[in-house]
Amino acid sequence: MSLDKTDVENIAYLARLAIDENDIPEYAQDLNNIFNLVALLSDADTNNISPMAHPFDAKQRLRADVVSETNQREKFQAIAPKTDGGIYLVPQVIE
């Protein structure tokens, strides 16, 4: 497997990361080196092995469906880049 310039651009887009055009060859090389390391996994025999997502295969704990948090909008929005009247502002999405 070898990732080229277009692959790196696609991955960066999926991850919503602006990367410098000049840095793409280096990213491609680094990612390829890392995936070469990862390629070792394909030799492992994992037939009949179940995937492990959690060390104790724990189940999600559930709680009663009652309000447990208080509204702290002002406190949380005090650290937001841009808000107005309790709303987070982003560039216009819908014309």
Binding site: A53, I79, A80
Partner: protein, 484 residues
């Protein structure tokens, strides 16, 4: 004052020999003198520290103080601290003032401890040398041209240089144990789920675990007593009673069965490091332990498995850094995509971007089975190796790291070489087991750590095993020449 153990400091505070304000001021003065040299702290919280110390002194006078009341500590800058910048060593969170406390911070505050400041680290805990920090690298007090390890490098350097008596750290693939090893400290990564992750900025949620970093097992036990326990705010926190870790420290090691995985002593291990580790194991034999060689046949899979699982989880966790609700936002975004892409592109450093990209690719349509699912299956193989091993032995021992502290800049151009610095620590996280590193000696003036891996919830046993060694050795009491 700064060479005393936590128990000694506690006794001095309770007897009135010193006040918490005096002790706190002493450490603040030391930080101001030495931090320029080692860059261990990102934020010094002098004002609130003195305030906390005053409150502690009142409790000490009222005789309502606990064992740790009035003792200063430092927090890795990954733990949210209300009203105090919590940067995770990233430009992305350079302006982030946490609106709440992590459970760990809350508990240690409740215990009366005094927060000196927030320690430097690899950006979002991604690194093994503390060189990916937005605030610059941390220097190792044992050789300031060398790395302290990472990602909890600031906490490690701060304790080693005696700028804090103890500190918190986090460990996703070795981030407590590896810097503990390189800085001559005792570091413990508990069983996954033992300590709450609430308010600890997430890197790889199925691997992240907080723990104490200290000079001795005795000190680490005292901090773990407060840090450990169930928290309903962390969905992966385990409902299990917390023992008093201090009461079993002196238990006998007679008949202790030590397993030495042959994979940890093979090619790649510096022979001088091996010599120190073998000498430490000899000491355990003299304390009544028996030693046998074991095998963890899937050890080769640990690093590659980790570099799928951890980046996959990080790419998902870090999607919350979007320039909308908190953190860095780019200037004049032209549309929503531009806002996301430039805020993230500007806010994240190179290593974080690399890992987000690896994770994004591994989780993308068509590749999920080949990478993420395959890695999770390999994770099971690695975990099963340990299960098998613990049928025959009580504790697994080996080196924490293949070499002593390497030079700053040595591995920054080669991510894969950097990843291999965690070759002996990563499998413990994948299995969710508790692991420790303790000071075991020196090679050419640089510290060597002995790693101890226990079965699930065997933190007491690990601390006991470490403590008995520290009663007959004094490696853990050494202080680097320029920080005495």
């Amino acid at each position: 004052m700064h060479t005393k153990s936590l128990s000694e400091l506690s006794a001095a505070l309770h007897s009135g020999e010193i006040t918490s304000v005096e002790l706190t001021q002493h450490y603040i003065d030391r930080i101001k003198t030495h931090n320029d040299t080692i860059n261990a702290f990102i934020t010094l919280t002098e004002e609130s520290a003195i305030e906390q110390a005053r409150a502690a002194d009142i409790q000490l006078q009222n005789k309502t103080a606990g064992k740790l009341t009035g003792i200063p500590l430092a927090h890795k800058d990954i733990f949210c601290t209300e009203g105090i910048r919590t940067s995770c060593a990233s430009k992305m969170l350079d302006n982030f003032i946490a609106p709440y406390n992590a459970t760990v911070v809350e508990k240690l505050n409740q215990a009366g401890m005094v927060t000196l400041g927030k320690t430097n680290m690899d950006e979002f805990a991604m690194g093994s040398s503390n060189e990916t920090s937005f605030y610059g690298p941390v220097k190792n007090p044992w050789g300031t041209d060398r790395v302290p390890g990472g990602s909890s490098g600031g906490s490690a350097a701060a304790i080693a240089a005696r700028l804090a008596p103890i500190a918190t750290g986090t460990d996703t693939g070795g981030s407590i144990r590896q810097p503990a090893s390189l800085c001559n400290l005792t570091g413990l990564k508990p069983t996954y789920g033992r300590i709450s992750r609430y308010g600890m900025i997430a890197f790889a949620s199925s691997l992240d675990q907080a723990g104490p970093m200290a000079h001795s097992a005795e000190d680490a036990a005292l901090l773990l007593n407060v840090m450990a326990g169930f928290d309903e705010r962390d969905s992966t926190s385990l409902e299990r009673e917390v023992p008093d870790y201090s009461t079993t420290l002196n238990d006998s090691l007679e008949g202790l069965r030590i397993g030495l995985p042959k994979e940890f002593f093979s090619e790649g291990l510096d022979p001088k490091v091996a010599e120190v580790v073998n000498a430490a194991i000899k000491i355990y034999e003299s304390l009544g332990a028996t030693v046998k060689e074991i095998t963890l046949p899937n050890s080769d899979l640990a690093v590659p498995t980790y570099y799928v699982v951890a980046p996959a989880e990080c790419s998902s966790n870090l999607s919350r850094m979007d320039g909308v609700r908190f953190g860095h936002r780019c200037e004049d975004p032209k549309d929503l995509n531009d806002l996301y892409e430039r805020s993230r592109g500007e806010g994240f450093g190179e290593e974080v971007k690399r890992r987000i990209m690896i994770g994004t690719y591994a989780l993308s349509a068509g590749y999920y089975d080949a990478y993420y699912l395959k890695a999770q299956k390999c994770r099971r193989l690695i975990s099963d190796d340990f299960k098998q091993a613990f049928n025959d032995v009580d504790v697994i021992m080996g080196p924490t790291t293949p070499t002593t502290a390497f030079k700053l800049g040595d591995k920054t151009d080669d991510p894969v070489a950097m990843y291999l610095a965690d070759i002996y620590t990563i499998s413990t996280n994948l299995a969710g087991l508790p692991g420790m590193s303790i000071p075991a000696g020196f090679v050419d003036g640089l510290p060597v750590g002995l790693q101890l891996i226990g079965n699930y919830f065997e933190e007491s046993r690990l601390l006991n095993i470490a403590h008995r060694y520290q009663q007959v050795t004094d490696w853990h009491q050494q202080t680097p020449e320029n920080f005495k």
